[in-house]
Structure formats: structure tokens, C-alpha cells
Amino acid sequence: MDLIIEYQAQLLSGTWVTIRLALLSLMISVMCGLLGAWAKLSKNFVAQKTAAGYTTIVRGVPDLVLILLVFYGGQELVNSLGLATGLWDYVEISQFAAGVGTIGIVFGGYMTETFRGAIIAIPKGQIEAGVACGMDRITIFRRVIWPQMVRYALPGFSNNWLVQIKSTALVSVIGLQDVVYNGFVAGKSTRQLFTFMFAVLMIYLVLTAISDLGLRWLDRKYSKGIVRSDNG
């Protein structure tokens, strides 16, 4: 315990990196998810097939493989493109950028399915009613689809988010100094790896517990006026 207090600065700075990583990649994944759901539900053949390919690949390949591919391969790709076209000099993709981008895009695939299901769950009559009232498409999205979509999507979204937070741990493998990396280094130098890994475990537990509270609050907010059926 004394050791943890001695190394608390490293653990806290690592935790902060993990939180930023998780939140930024969440924003990317929500955007990718909305875009993907829109493409999957559109009548455009190309958009449909692109979205289908995207979700299949991203949900079929483990996230660590994609993180490594983007971090090592992406770097080389960007630089050989720059060399060939002469448009830019040597670019270095940071671990943070590779992690945020890849995790965001990967979970965008899961969000796509969640959002798509949520939009489909909205009764069609309501959208037709919106059209009949003379609403344009943006108004219908904002006033009819979005509030209900959030409610239908929340259980799936919560699940995705909890998995996503935990996936950020994988970025330590490419050397980003997140909470796992810092905890590991501290544990190695003090020969107390169990203590430090357990501390990291507890930090993640706190993060997921806090998210759980936030998600419950959101759930209550968006389910106002909805009577839940009681199966018990």
C-alpha cells in the first residue's frame, strides 16, 4: 500500500490518459456508429455494402490486431504515400492517435448495429405522422427519431461503452503510457507486480462503476414517462 502511494503520480497520470483515450474514442465511435447506421438504412447500394463490409471486418478482427496494424502499418503507409507524392514529410503517428482512432473505429462498428436496431424499433407510423405534420427530415430526426433512438439504443450503448473502456488497456501494448503501462513499469521496478496490477484492476473497476452510474442516470432521463412492463 505504501508503494502505491509512492507511485500514485504515475498511476494517476496513467489513469488520466486512459480516461481521455476512452472519451475521445467514444466520440469517434458514436460518429462512426451514426454514419454507419445511416448508411445501412439508406437505399443507396454502395453505402449499404460499404457499411456492411465495415461492420463485418471491424467486428471480425480482434481490436489488438487492428491497433498494431494501424500503428505500425499505418505509419509506413502514410510515409510511403508522402514519399511517392511529395506532399508531406516524415509523419509520425503517435500511440495516442493510433489508439483513439482504431478503438473509435472498431467500436463504431458495434455502435452501428446498436443504432440501426434502435432506429428500426421506432414505429413507422410516428415518422409518417411527422411527415403528415409537415416536418422536414432534420426536424423529424431531431424531434421524433433521436429522443426515442437514444432510449432504444441505451442498453446496447451501455454494453459497448463498458467493453470499450476495457479495450483501451490494449493500447499499452504499443507503448502508450496509460494506467496499465505505468502500473506495469512501477510494479516491475519495485518487484511488486501483483500489488500494482491489482491497483490497476481496482482503478478500472472504479471507472466502470462510475460509468454505470452515469448510464443509469441517462436511462432514467430518457425513459421518463415510459412504463416498463414487469415480468417478475
Binding site: G60, V131, L201
Partner: protein, 259 residues
């Protein structure tokens, strides 16, 4: 003919296909290690989860609380950290290093990965099965009671068989999740599919080849597994589909509106 193809690939292909082909047997071995770890941990974790789920769906607080704590801990934290804790962490304790299981099991990366994966999937499967057990329809249980079935007989004959079936779609997700999670093994020196990809890239100083080959092979395995589960579901869940839905394709929603 063959030589000209190879020459063509060597000069024009953006990735070194010849090198991948030369090392393909290693990738197959890697895939075997990945499958081995996944399947064994799914079996061990699955077997562990059955009694745990029965405890979690009962109402004995003394048994329920520790099982809840176990599933909460393992579901709330990353598999990577759990694996590190077991592989790197246990060596911190002198008394563990003195036991007989240290040398053959707890100091070996493969066993540590297996233990971590099994406990992890046991935690997820426990909660999944619990959800399925507590939603068994009351009528079925009452009918079983009326027929004079005892508590264990009811569980074995009525509750569990139907709970297993209803848990199947969610369990297929867990299987794929575990397959994805098994890449963690490569971070503790195991030569699984990703481990071979990392080895190839490290040895020949490459950026894509190893990872792309691993990615494609993971994709193929995942597609095969989910196809298998879909067939399995069709067989075991036939009685739960609405009657006309068995033949008719599900309607696509939102035909008249594009977001």
C-alpha cells in the same frame, strides 16, 4: 508458369505474399494455439459457470455475494490486466513459488493465459445464464412442481434445458468475444495467431504482412464460428420463432424514410 507468377508477385505485390506463403505453416500452428486456448477456456469456464449461475439465480445471500463479487470483478476489468496479474503478479509471493504447482503450471505463460481466460469467460457466462434462468416462465416451473418434481429434478429437466437454449444467441457473442480476447496471449510471449504475426514482422522488419495475415485468418475463423452458431440456433430455437417467421424473411423497417 509457377515461377513467373512468383516473379510477378515479388516485383509488383505491395505486400510480400511469397514470404507469407513460406511461413504459412507457422500461421496455421498459431491458429491452432488460438483455437486451443479459446476452446479449452470456453469449456472450463462454461462448466464453472453452471453451478455459479444456479447460485446467482437463487436467493442464498451467503453464496450469492461472493459469486456476485467474482463476476463483478472479472466483468468490470480488462482481460489484459487479469492475465498480467496472474502471469506476472503471482511470482511476487514467495509462498506461491514454493508450491508444487508453480513450476509446471503457474510459471508457464500458456497455463496462466488459460486460467485467466477461463475465469473471465466463466464470469460473463455466469451472468448470461443467470439472466436466462430467472426469465424461465413461471408456468413451466409451476407445472413441474405440480407434477411432483423436486428442486434438482426441476432444475435438470425443466429450467436448465430451456435456459441453455435461450442463452444461445448471447453465448455466441461470448464465444466470439473470447476468440478476440485470446490475442492477449500474444502479449505474454505465447505464439498464437497474432504472436506469429508479430514474430514475422519483427524478424523481417515488416509493417503489414504479419498483422494482415493474422487479421484475415481471425476474420475467417469468426465468420465460420458465427455461421455455425446460426445453424445451431436454427435447430435448437425453432420452437421459439413465430410460426410464419420460420419461412418468411423478416421485413426491413423504415422503408419509407431515409435518415
Amino acid at each position: 508458369m509457377g515461377e513467373s507468377i512468383i516473379a510477378f508477385l515479388e516485383t509488383w505485390s505491395p505486400i510480400d505474399i511469397v514470404l507469407i506463403a513460406q511461413n504459412f505453416d507457422r500461421f496455421l500452428w498459431g491458429a491452432l494455439v488460438t483455437l486451443q486456448l479459446t476452446v479449452i477456456s470456453l469449456i472450463v469456464g462454461g462448466l464453472l459457470s453452471i453451478p455459479l449461475a444456479i447460485i446467482r439465480s437463487g436467493n442464498n445471500p451467503f453464496l450469492n455475494a461472493p459469486v456476485w463479487a467474482f463476476t463483478y470483478l472479472f466483468r468490470g476489468t480488462p482481460l489484459l490486466v487479469q492475465t498480467y496479474l496472474i502471469y506476472y503478479g503471482l511470482g511476487q509471493f514467495e509462498w506461491i513459488r514454493q508450491t508444487v504447482v508453480w513450476e509446471p503450471i503457474l510459471s508457464q505463460a500458456w497455463w496462466c493465459a488459460l486460467i485467466a481466460f477461463s475465469l473471465n469467460t466463466a464470469a460473463y457466462t455466469t451472468e448470461l445464464l443467470r439472466g436466462s434462468i430467472i426469465t424461465t416462465s413461471k408456468g413451466e416451473v409451476e407445472a413441474a412442481k405440480a407434477c411432483g418434481l423436486g428442486k434438482w429434478m426441476r432444475l435438470r429437466r425443466i429450467v436448465l434445458p430451456s435456459a441453455f437454449r435461450r442463452a444461445l444467441p448471447a453465448y455466441s457473442n461470448e464465444v466470439i468475444f473470447m476468440l478476440h480476447g485470446s490475442v492477449v496471449a500474444s502479449t505474454i510471449t505465447i505464439q498464437d495467431l497474432l504472436g506469429v504475426g508479430r514474430w514475422l514482422n519483427g524478424r523481417y522488419y515488416l509493417a503489414y504482412e504479419g498483422f494482415i495475415t493474422a487479421a484475415v485468418m481471425y476474420l475467417i475463423i469468426v465468420l465460420l464460428v458465427s455461421r455455425g452458431f446460426r445453424l445451431w440456433e436454427k435447430h435448437w430455437l425453432k420452437h421459439l420463432y413465430p410460426l410464419d417467421a420460420v419461412e418468411a424473411k423478416p421485413k426491413k423497417g423504415l422503408a419509407s424514410f431515409r435518415v
